[in-house]
Point group: D2
């Protein structure tokens, strides 16, 4: 009778907190519990009603029996999936992961789980980034002779090249080492731009991040979209690409 | 045996000249003749091989018999179509028009012709502008709650609001009077930007014009795409939208 | 012996909190106390060491005797200055105000105080905005024939035209009603852009706000700059203009 | 009696032609003659009244006796100055050079000439670029802790890093190898951007080139500014810096 989608969360760092707040503000979903890694005291509570567990002390099987959910959303660290994938898959609980630092064995673990339940993984889960990826892929096909460059701007202390920019380049068929240009300066939250250069016109697809809450909106988009879908391994690009097709129909 | 597409042109003003040059540089098409309105001497010849006729002295029926073409491309003025539409339609010669100042009776004349031949009309025929229109329409469906604004920047002496910007707004379901923001300053050739505002991210689709030669590239895209298609009334947005669907398939 | 500049603050709203944090992080100053208007409980304490008073219960004369300061910084509301100006002026305590909603009688009150102490008032106290104002004023003199437009972009719920944009226009000798272009969309924190259009080149001076902490940095710039200066009415533009002159010398 | 400033030009390539046209349109100056390097026929004459000479056949001493000028403007190639510097210096004819490929011996030749006449050399002579250089230098002094990056965007076929961008970086005290970011794509005429990154705000000084005619406007600014000034070696940055000081006074 009740179509509210129930969610559990892994991770309560900076991104996790802002994502959780988005869940609390959307009546279509219910955030049932949060698992965090650290056992330092919480300085501020998101909500008195949301129980928070420490992962090292957790009996996950018992938790999902006591407080069942439809999806878990993971904004914690790479290794978390190794602990939860089997258990969640066995109970057909969907997994939405936006952890950016996965190695091959983490991805294999998620792929294994996707044989039994819905799994979505994308290192950048925002609607905006995935929109410019799909739009960019289409333009590559419409105008194969146009030059393409990716520019990413971030705060000074972000040392590595943006993983999102690398993925954009790869999905556009470009060598990231040659075509990703990284600007590091001041406190820029995050800007990604794809430039398509024609002899007589220039096209720019630009995404500016304002806050990490955009990840929460992306997770909500994924959850609503994947609710009651068959098991399998999904990506955000795939969902947005499906959205393009539906919009064109 | 020869698949070169033969083209005749109406109009040899600033845009017409740059468009004609694009045709001369593309081996897939052959520019066969040009009709111009003025009988003032030409200061420079595009090419000694391309005959140029004055419209007031022209017998168009004889010209297309002597020098048959597959398409005509019109960058002249609104009334030109009233003179050529019937004759070209009767001979199944395609009509590509990028004249921006049409009134209803001009459009009716082209629609009538489209019952017998291929007719494409768009006030802005560049690939880039039509790409951001289709991408923008899709994003409106994916994210109906996002705010949308259109900004257009042009040189100081362009007095009226950009027709392209108005069309962008209308196709996105926005009231142009409220959502088109016009900047007039200096010698800016032409910039159109669609901003999608989300609470936590901002997306910009930006098109910068470098020169009018982009119209020629757009016309070439249309001609190659419409070659051997059935009669009917087409728009550039429609062709680009079809390109989106094909790219996604 | 101790050159640490002592500061008191009025206002502990969103801006006030971020400004206060900047003060806590700069060893050149010491935040001694904060006066706030509301008596609702504080959900989080900035620092246990900083006493916070409710303005309606405050004896300001006693406070500055017990806990003397060199400057007060005001991020509260327009009427606050009516209560503190006389007392502070009599004790030669500097006043830095960044309240944006002043009416004429508030400004008169501050001007009166400036006969006895240092007073700085600017509706936008960031270094960045005042930098583009002064640079823009200079370019107006170097290139009087260039066209100039101001664009300001802010979040959807900001209903009025940006006061900062209006001030930029006025200081550049432009009618704000004609030359300020306001874009309202999504969650944009704040962007101000001055465009100078020449026939063959375009110059853009663009300021993007990331967070309100920029106001704190601006207040610190003002305080250090005005420390031990003679009484008088100062503006942030004036200090930045002096900085230009010093840099050029 | 006549204050029209008389000009001779070296160079009639793409830049030279657009510069010469600017001179023809400004009643404050008179373009008296042009020297070009190539002896291929001219496809179009700038003006029937302006004599054009081939440099290899030229007797410069005779020319400046027959048709005296106040300044020569050089948009030709690096070696040209080796031929004209002595002769012009002896006759106190001002030299404005915007040749970008000078080596040390070329500069020495111009410096020697500057002992006897006015010499101005800048690889980029536009008002806009020099404006952002001086504004940027000032901001470096006002905010020494801000991060700074230079981005330059140009057409795909421009193989080398922009000399203008390198000079911007050097004048701002930055290592060009680390802080100049070059984007090459499509037909972008030329964009230079200096980004100043603060923790809580970002400032961008952006220059877009529309056409090479901007060089002509820069040359005119230099000529009018240097007319009747004492001999010496000047740069465009210096003149613009003087303009800043005058505007602030």
């Amino acid at each position: 009778m009740n179509n509210t989608i129930k969610i559990g969360m892994f991770g309560l760092g900076k991104a996790g907190k802002e994502v959780a707040e988005q869940f609390l503000n959307d009546p279509a979903v219910k955030l049932c519990w949060i698992v965090r890694g650290s056992n330092t005291p919480l300085t501020e509570h998101l909500s008195e009603d949301i129980p928070v567990y420490i992962s090292s002390e957790l009996d996950l099987a018992k938790l999902i029996k006591d407080k069942p959910v439809d999806f878990i959303v993971d904004f914690s660290s790479a290794d978390a999936c190794l602990g939860y994938a089997d258990i969640l898959a066995a109970h057909k609980i969907g997994i939405i992961s936006a952890v950016s630092a996965y190695q091959e064995h983490h991805l294999n673990c998620l792929r294994e789980a996707s044989k039994k339940t819905v799994v979505l993984y994308s290192p950048n889960i925002t609607l905006g980034i995935n929109f410019i990826i799909i739009a960019g892929k289409i333009l590559r096909k419409l105008a194969p002779h146009a030059g393409v460059e990716v520019i990413e701007e971030h705060f000074h202390n972000k040392k590595e090249v943006s993983g999102t920019a690398i993925r954009i380049a790869e999905l556009l068929g470009l060598d990231p080492k040659k075509h990703v240009n990284s600007i590091r300066v001041g406190g820029i939250v995050g800007r990604h731009e794809i430039i398509f250069g024609f002899p007589n016109q220039t096209l720019r697809l630009t995404h500016d991040s304002i806050s990490r809450a955009a990840f929460g909106q992306g997770a909500l988009y994924a959850i609503k979209n994947l609710y009651r879908r068959p098991e399998g391994f999904y990506t955000m690009e795939q969902l947005v690409s499906e959205g393009f097709s539906a919009a064109l129909a």
